[in-house]
């Protein structure tokens, strides 16, 4: 019974969602089931938040290694939670929008969260460089092709690439670096991407059927069907 009911629900809802694509009267039901997921996910926030607090409280109380970071986490968590729930700092009081100008919640989001997120995102530039250094090595034939393609595209995106091949006549304009870069992106790269996307679509269908038919049950905590 612990597995049968979830399996039945999975089959019923999944089948209904498929049918809703083809039968207009059922479409609204399909949309409702999608909404139901969002509602369930909201309730699940309590589980996640509770888990976060419990783990970090345990770390602080036991004075485990790096417990100071846990203290910072807990402080931030409760500060933002209180700011949002009680609309602290809002000129309009608790009835006003949580993102009203001047509220603690909005201030924390704009002056702490956004800069921190941007900082993490900025790391990507350096990681791209380090990953490229390792990836673009002529270790074998495929790697050599990758290196050449990357080099052409890199030059094609910069004024230097235009400058070094500007002397090539218009009749051979395809050999100019910017045009070569465009061709690589619009033909081989795009073709490969679309092939991958077709495979992904088929993979989704296959996996969905396994889940729908109860063949794949690992997500329910059961080994196999």
């Amino acid at each position: 019974m612990k597995r049968t009911v979830p399996l039945f629900i999975t089959f019923f809802v999944g089948t209904l969602l498929i049918v809703s694509v083809f039968l207009p009267p059922v479409q609204s039901m399909g949309e409702n089931f999608t909404l139901f997921f969002d509602i369930i996910a909201v309730f699940a926030f309590f589980l996640g938040g509770g888990n976060l607090v419990r783990i970090h409280l345990d770390k602080v109380s036991r004075r485990k290694k790096d417990w100071g970071y846990s203290l910072v986490t807990l402080f931030g968590f409760f500060l933002v939670l209180a700011s949002g729930l009680f609309k602290i700092g809002n000129a309009g009081g608790i009835a006003a929008s949580v993102t009203a100008s001047g509220s603690w919640f909005q201030t924390i989001f704009e002056r702490v969260m956004n800069p921190l997120s941007s900082t993490m995102y900025a790391l990507l530039a350096f990681y791209v460089a380090s990953a490229s250094y390792r990836a673009f090595r002529a270790k074998n034939r495929e790697a050599t092709i990758l290196l050449i393609a990357a080099f052409v595209i890199l030059l094609g995106r910069t004024p230097f690439g235009t400058m070094i091949t500007a002397w090539i006549p218009d009749s051979l304009s395809a050999l100019q670096v910017p045009n070569m870069a465009i061709w690589i992106m619009s033909s081989p790269n795009l073709a490969g991407q679309r092939a991958i996307m077709i495979g992904i679509g088929l993979g989704v269908v296959s996996m969905s059927l396994r889940v729908l038919l109860g063949i794949e049950r690992t997500y329910l905590g059961e080994d196999k069907g």
Binding site: P24, N51, L52, G203, S206, I215, T218, K224
Partner: protein, 415 residues
């Protein structure tokens, strides 16, 4: 003729100026007089109304949508700014007109989504301008109809039927004992070895299921792989660490790992803290994962699910701590990053095949075989489409043009 002297030239210029002044005075008087002819109390010029307002029942729906289109006011078309907008009114079953929507100038279509079966609807437009408003002609009463089947998607249904049917067929074939060939996937062959490495080194395994919730099929795929991985982890008595960014994923992952440990006969070794929630915030989650990597130095990292910009940040950090990294995602934009930074990458569909592949179970593998029928169908359609497009463009062959148009309509699924 003798040249004019400076005194003579000055005299001539002055005379000309005087004459010009005398001429202009009567003209100014004429202008003033002409302005006086225009009465100050002229009636304002109203804008031209919008025309050709048409209401039609939206095709293949439950009778809950009406499509409206019209030709904007001629004033709106001729001179920008003369019309400031439009208001749409609806009359339901001969009741009082109700304002339905307002549009900016230049708008010429709208879909009414608040329609109910069995009622008669009449619409009209009010054109708004600084000088006044004008009403359009009303539409004829319209009652919508329910349509049970969306025939625009008949080809989509056929394709889905073929692909799903082939998957089911091969599942049944495998269940009956027929041996099916499945190509090797290097990343999956390395799973046991990677876990074994972590065991030998006495360092934990890190499993990241992406940053999406359980409604994303990639996350489900990641969780299914987690089940296989956790079973091996339990057998090898290795530590596993799984920080997640969604609460529902935490719940599902815990259940999956717990079951795996029970199946391995090690229920006592399971701990809820193997899976912990971090945050929904994308880069907050990235920061936490990076911190865990730096502090705990996992020997093996799995990244299996849906990833966005954080993929390379996580993978490069894993690389910096010397971990073996096995990644898989169906996000085309992130695949290059994983390929560049990880030891093994499951590309696209391989992510969805992973669980079945690792299980080794015939009927699971049968579903993979069914995908090949879909690929064959896709290849065939691509070849036919390419041929039709080429011959149509190069030689203007009517048959090829018609074939190309047919294929285009078959694969248009956005209706």
């Amino acid at each position: 003729m003798r040249p004019l002297t400076s005194i003579s030239r000055s005299y001539v210029c002055s005379l000309c100026c005087l004459l010009l002044t005398l001429v202009l005075i009567p003209s100014s008087n004429n202008i003033a007089f002409a302005q006086a002819d225009i009465p100050d109390t002229a009636a304002p010029i109203l804008p031209a109304p919008a025309t050709s307002l048409v209401a039609s029942d939206h095709k293949y729906d439950d009778g809950d949508h009406i499509d409206l289109s019209w030709v904007p006011s001629i004033d709106d078309q001729v001179m920008k700014g003369t019309v400031t907008g439009y208001r749409l009114y609806r009359i339901t079953d001969d009741s009082t007109p109700v304002k339905l929507a307002e549009f900016a100038a230049g708008t010429n279509r709208y879909q009414d989504n608040a329609v109910r079966l069995g009622r008669a609807y009449v619409y009209y437009l009010e054109t708004i301008a600084p000088t006044g408003t004008a009403l359009s002609v009303r539409t004829a009463p319209l009652r919508t109809e329910r349509e049970w089947i969306n025939f625009d998607r008949k080809y989509l249904f056929l394709i889905a039927f073929i692909i799903a049917g082939s998957v089911i067929y091969f599942i049944e074939t495998a269940r009956r004992g027929k041996k099916l060939f499945i190509r090797k996937i290097a990343g999956l062959e390395a799973v046991d070895e990677a876990i074994g490495r972590a065991t030998e080194m006495g360092r934990p395994i890190l499993f990241i299921p992406g940053i999406q919730d359980m409604d994303n099929v990639q996350t489900v795929a990641g969780i299914t792989i987690l089940g296989r991985v956790a079973r091996v982890v339990a057998d090898y008595d290795t530590k596993i660490n799984m920080p997640v960014s969604r609460s529902l994923v935490m719940t599902a992952a815990r259940e999956t790992i717990k079951t795996a440990y029970m199946a391995a006969g090690r229920p006592d070794a399971y701990n809820d803290d193997m899976v912990r929630y971090v945050t929904d915030e994308q880069f907050g989650y990235v920061a936490a994962v990076d911190g865990i990597m730096v502090r705990e130095k996992p020997a093996t990292c799995f990244y299996l699910g849906a990833f966005f910009a954080e993929s390379l940040i996580i993978a490069e950090t894993g690389n910096s701590v010397g971990a073996i990294q096995i990644a898989g995602t169906a996000m085309p934009a992130q695949l290059p990053f994983f390929v560049a930074a990880c030891d093994f990458t499951l590309i696209g569909e391989e992510l969805f095949a992973a669980s079945a592949y690792l299980s080794g179970e015939p009927k699971q593998l049968g579903s993979l075989k069914g995908q090949d029928i879909g690929k064959g169908l896709a290849l065939l359609m691509i070849l036919i489409g390419t041929l039709a497009a080429t011959l149509s463009a190069a030689y203007d062959i009517e048959f090829m043009t018609n074939l190309l148009n047919t294929l285009t309509s078959v694969f248009q699924t956005n209706r």
